[in-house]
């Protein structure tokens, strides 16, 4: 498909000398070709989650990139040059979309794991609903601290490291992270996999040769131990 637009050589010369209208004509003129490549890739797709419009969007991006990089003086036909870049842009786009979907899916599973684990506090008998909800909230707070990246070096030297967070909040986060090292082995592994490496419970279960339910129990226990340890090292207690 080595067709050229009428007057294409003149359009290229104008485009390369900065003529925006010529550039626009070239894009419009080759848009059908980009659509053809998108349709070909779409017909042979193995991922059925993306729409044709997504393929077309990636192809159009590839076409525009090709147009800006093409040098007519090199002697190659534009469509020969552009076909590799357009196909590459489609493949890159599919890959990026797939990665994002995997990330979103993993994130949802992790959040679901944490809600399930926190909700376990509701199952206990003998406590009133307020105490149970307080336990759920504090358990989620421990998870919040663990999820924060560890960037506490020289806190004393750089108390302004995060202007939106007080030194106390940062010290509390650091304390929780430090206390992870004192957890029993299984609790430590679950916390490290889940919070530091963002691994859902089902994958941790496979890695550790346990059931997902058991991992959830270990996770709940780990947060309870961290809560107790954090409380015990807190310097100032609550004054009522």
């Amino acid at each position: 498909m080595e067709t050229m637009l009428s007057g294409e050589s003149a359009l290229w010369a104008a485009c390369k000398s900065g003529d925006a209208a010529a550039r626009e004509r070239l894009i419009e003129g080759h848009l059908v070709y980009a659509r053809t490549l998108a349709a070909r890739m779409y017909a042979g797709r193995i991922d059925h989650d993306l729409e044709f419009e997504d393929y077309l969007q990636f192809a159009t991006i590839g076409l525009i990139e090709s147009l800006d990089r093409y040098d007519p003086d090199q002697g190659a036909q534009f469509r020969t040059f552009a076909s590799h870049r357009i196909n590459g842009a489609i493949l890159n786009g599919i890959e990026n979309m797939s990665e994002k979907r995997v990330q979103i899916s993993t994130r949802k599973r992790i959040e679901s794991d944490r809600r399930d684990s926190a909700a376990a506090a509701l199952a206990g008998s003998g406590l009133d609903v307020f105490q149970k909800l307080a336990d759920v909230a504090v358990s989620l707070a421990m998870g919040f601290f663990l999820e924060q990246p560890e960037s506490y070096e020289n806190l004393d030297a750089h108390p302004h490291v995060n202007l939106y967070s007080s030194l106390e909040m940062q010290q509390l986060q650091k304390r929780v992270h430090d206390l992870v090292h004192n957890l029993p082995q299984k609790e430590k592994m679950v916390v490290k996999y889940h919070y530091l490496n963002q691994v859902p419970f089902s994958e941790i279960a496979e890695i550790m040769g346990l059931t997902k339910g058991r991992v959830s129990q270990i996770h709940t226990n780990a947060l309870a131990l961290l809560r107790k340890a954090t409380k015990s090292v807190r310097t100032a207690d609550v004054a009522w």
Partner: protein, 122 residues
Amino acid sequence: MTSISSVQQIVATIRSGMGGPVPAKTGRKTRTDSTGQEQTGMGRLITERIKSLDPEDPKRGRKAFRIFLESVLLSELGEGLINDPQFYQMVDKIQDTMERDPRILAAIEQATAALLNEKPSA
């Protein structure tokens, strides 16, 4: 760990501020805690925050539960966090997570009804 008495004190403070049953006056000059000490920092804060709620506000229940959450977490983690924007960001996230779980949400509704001195909706 936030002791049962702490949680119950928080609940009692919120409920009395919401117009619920207040213990009969016994001649004490100020509200006291379980050890007989005067109510300080957080107890006063809860009272002030509850008083600032508009009785006609349709979100009054959710706001009362939010005050409960903040109070419990400050009691557990330290009152020094009270002026920290990241603390409130954390509470936002915790409340959102809790409300997205139907089991926890049911418990929240029960607790909110108790804070408002209402019967929980069916």
